[in-house]
């Protein structure tokens, strides 16, 4: 995947993040909205990515986890808790996705996992998130996305 498409994927993932949790819905409707967002990410990956590249196998899931991470910045309650969970999901997708690929002999990028792990620990120190800190966290995630 070229850096430009990767950047576009980042923007696409950021798009739904701000209004994911704004209006109260039933669990089923939340489920459907998540499924549709994930489907969009899958379609994007399928039409823009090189499907021969094994990293593409979990690329839409990474987009989804990234989107969920950013969406936690809009939460007013238990933000740190859900930030940790969302980063945990991102970490889980990258870690076990890479492990699956490693068993097939594909190279693994450890740095993004290390950064995500430290991100999970790091957010614990920002229990009260002023806007500047939220922006910093957002930049940190975008940095992980763009660089690794």
């Amino acid at each position: 995947m070229t850096p430009l498409i990767n950047a576009l994927a980042c923007l696409l993932a950021l798009l739904p993040a701000s209004f994911l949790w704004t209006s109260p819905r039933s669990i089923a409707r939340y489920g459907i909205s998540q499924a549709l967002i994930l489907l969009c990410f899958m379609l994007f990956t399928f039409f823009t990515g090189d499907m021969e590249d094994p990293m593409m196998e979990f690329y839409p899931l990474k987009m989804w986890a990234f989107c969920l991470c950013v969406s936690t910045l809009t939460l007013t309650k238990k933000r740190t808790f859900f930030m940790t969970l969302a980063q945990g999901l991102w970490f889980w997708i990258v870690f076990f996705g890479s492990l699956s690929l490693a068993y097939r002999g594909e190279p693994v990028n450890n740095l993004s996992m290390i950064l995500l792990f430290f991100g999970m620990i790091g957010v614990q120190f920002f229990k009260q998130n002023p806007k500047e800190i939220s922006l910093g966290i957002l930049i940190y995630w975008v940095g992980i996305w763009m660089l690794f």
Partner: protein, 539 residues
């Protein structure tokens, strides 16, 4: 209804036990298999039942952490279903082993009896993950029951829920990695870990809807969760189509289309429809595992059908048996929850135990890793987290129970348990005799030449299925069942000697089966010499 289902379970156990007997006495030949589809229905059923086992932990532990209100109404039923489903699930990998009596080889003990557990084998990962998951689930349900009387135990329950949260996801992720390490392209997908977790949650939710209906109870939020999970799963099926061009209409129909009936209030309010939908979801999940593991047609044998009787019968008997037993002692236990309590463990205790668990897992790794450094580090990962969880879970559980039960009783029961479990582990550690008991038939060396049977052919017929035609090891087969075969080198052969290796062929050792009775001593010796020849050619 509960009693009726318990009896149905017991009746189903009759053909179930027959199936088990057939499978154990005949071995893998008793179920449908071929060279390319070497997993077959036992693994289909294993993945299905272990998925069902996730419901309890998800609905009880994870929702407890998320502080979801309806968790309290269904937690005990969900936890019981976990215990019953894990017990059913654990049977299938044992059957899959072929030599069930040596299942204890899967226990990753140290290397002192020269049976080194192969940390590259998914069977070891599954064994450790399932064993630890079962243990922590039992601790969790016991803590739950005790907390109804002693509210102070709620803090233990919450800590155990935090341990179970990643563990439950871990177990199904490991199941997905079982597929990742094979050479079958259809079984490989870096999205499998999340896909498998989602499938497990979906089937687990369907099971809980079903079990609640049986008790004439209904929790609408779970029905909504079921719809939500069906949509997410549907998207994953689309992704699988993009990835591999695989699309199974029957799975989508049962697992997605039918579940959408719950959107229509008139239908959703009918118990029969809810039961039908949950049943359809379960069918779709079984089919999903089947079409994944057995992608082309195989002619089923009676044992393949018998797994249904075994699985359903055992699940119903264990679940409703335990249900009736618990209800007998406390008739309202399924409808009450513990009083609120804000007690928490002190930070010292909390971090102390967690640090101890980290040290335990690392120590285990440090003591085992040097015994065979050829095992890649990434193959240790699936084992280490469950070990951490076991240490932490056991410590918190013991600490919690110690604080509420009389000390004498605590030490008596825990002493007895240590004795029984220690004895069992000791017996497994000592292991059994690997000799099949066939008396040695000493035939003169001439036999090989008398029958004019070239040793090369003997190697091809007796040894090559595991060791490979040129001694390189048959990775596809070995990866599945046994540890990696050591490199065939002259140095290694010389270190053991011809006599000793001949005995290994005849008497067996570790994962090597005894061939006494199937090859003569002279043939065994000829095979060892042939190995020398192969090693020389290789070098």
């Amino acid at each position: 209804m509960v009693k009726k289902l318990f009896i149905v379970g017991l009746i189903l156990l009759i053909p179930g036990i027959w199936t088990l007997f057939q499978a154990l006495s005949i071995g893998p030949a008793s179920w449908a298999l071929d060279q390319s589809l070497f997993w077959g229905t036992p693994i289909v059923n294993f993945v299905f039942w272990i998925g069902l086992a996730h419901a309890g932990t998800f609905l009880s532990a994870i929702l407890l952490i998320l502080e979801v209100r309806f968790q309290k109404r269904i937690s005990l039923v969900a936890e019981l279903s976990t215990i019953a489903a894990i017990l059913v699930a654990s049977i299938f990998p044992l059957i899959h082993l072929g030599i069930v009596s040596r299942f204890y080889f899967l226990i990753p003990f140290f290397n002192e009896r020269n049976i080194f557990a192969n940390f590259s084998s998914p069977l070891i990962w599954d064994f450790v993950a399932i064993f630890v998951y079962l243990c922590i689930s039992i601790f969790y349900i016991v803590t739950h029951l005790l907390s109804l009387k002693h509210a102070s135990l709620l803090k233990t329950g919450k800590v155990l829920a935090w341990i179970l949260f990643p563990l439950v996801l871990w177990v199904h992720t490991i199941v997905s990695l079982d597929f990742a390490v094979t050479t079958n392209n259809l079984w490989q997908g870096a999205y499998f870990p999340i896909y498998f977790i989602l499938g497990a949650l979906f089937s687990g939710l369907a099971l809980v809807v079903f079990l609640l209906e049986v008790q004439k109870r209904r929790v609408r939020k779970i029905e909504e969760l079921l719809i939500a999970a069906s949509w997410l799963l549907f998207v994953f099926w689309i992704w699988e189509f993009f990835q591999k061009g695989v699309w199974h209409f029957e799975v989508v129909f049962f697992g997605f289309v039918i579940v959408q009936l719950l959107w229509i209030p008139v239908l959703r309010n009918q118990k029969t429809i809810r039961l039908f939908v949950s049943f359809a979801a379960l069918v779709s999940m079984w089919l999903e595992r089947y079409v994944l593991i057995v992608p082309s047609d195989l002619e089923w044998l009676p044992v393949d059908y018998g797994w249904f009787a075994l699985g359903i019968g055992l699940f119903l008997s264990v679940f409703f048996g335990l249900y009736l037993l618990i209800q007998k002692y406390n008739p309202i236990v399924f409808y009450v929850s513990a009083e609120e309590s804000n007690e928490k463990y002190s930070k010292k205790v909390l971090w102390g135990i967690l640090a101890g668990a980290v040290v335990f897992a690392l120590l285990y790794f440090a003591l085992n890793y040097p015994l065979d450094t050829s095992v890649p580090l990434m193959n240790w990962i699936p084992v280490l987290f469950p070990l951490f969880s076991l240490f932490a879970g056991l410590s918190f559980f013991a600490l919690g129970v110690y604080s509420v039960v009389p000390k004498k009783q605590f030490f008596l029961v825990s002493g007895l348990l240590v004795l029984i479990l220690g004895g069992a582990f000791g017996a497994f550690y000592a292991g059994g005799d690997t000799n099949l008991g066939v008396e040695s038939k000493i035939i003169s060396v001439e036999r090989v030449s008398k029958n004019n049977r070239p040793v090369k052919d003997l190697w091809a017929s007796r040894c090559a299925s595991c060791h490979g035609l040129k001694g390189e090891g048959n990775r596809k087969f070995i990866y599945e069942f046994y540890p990696e075969i050591q490199d065939l080198t002259l140095e290694r052969l010389n270190s053991q000697g011809e006599d000793s290796l001949t005995q290994v062929v005849l008497k067996g050792r570790a994962f090597m089966n005894p061939f006494e009775g199937r090859v003569s001593e002279s043939e065994a010796r000829a095979l060892i010499r042939y190995m020398y020849q192969l090693a020389e050619e290789k070098e």
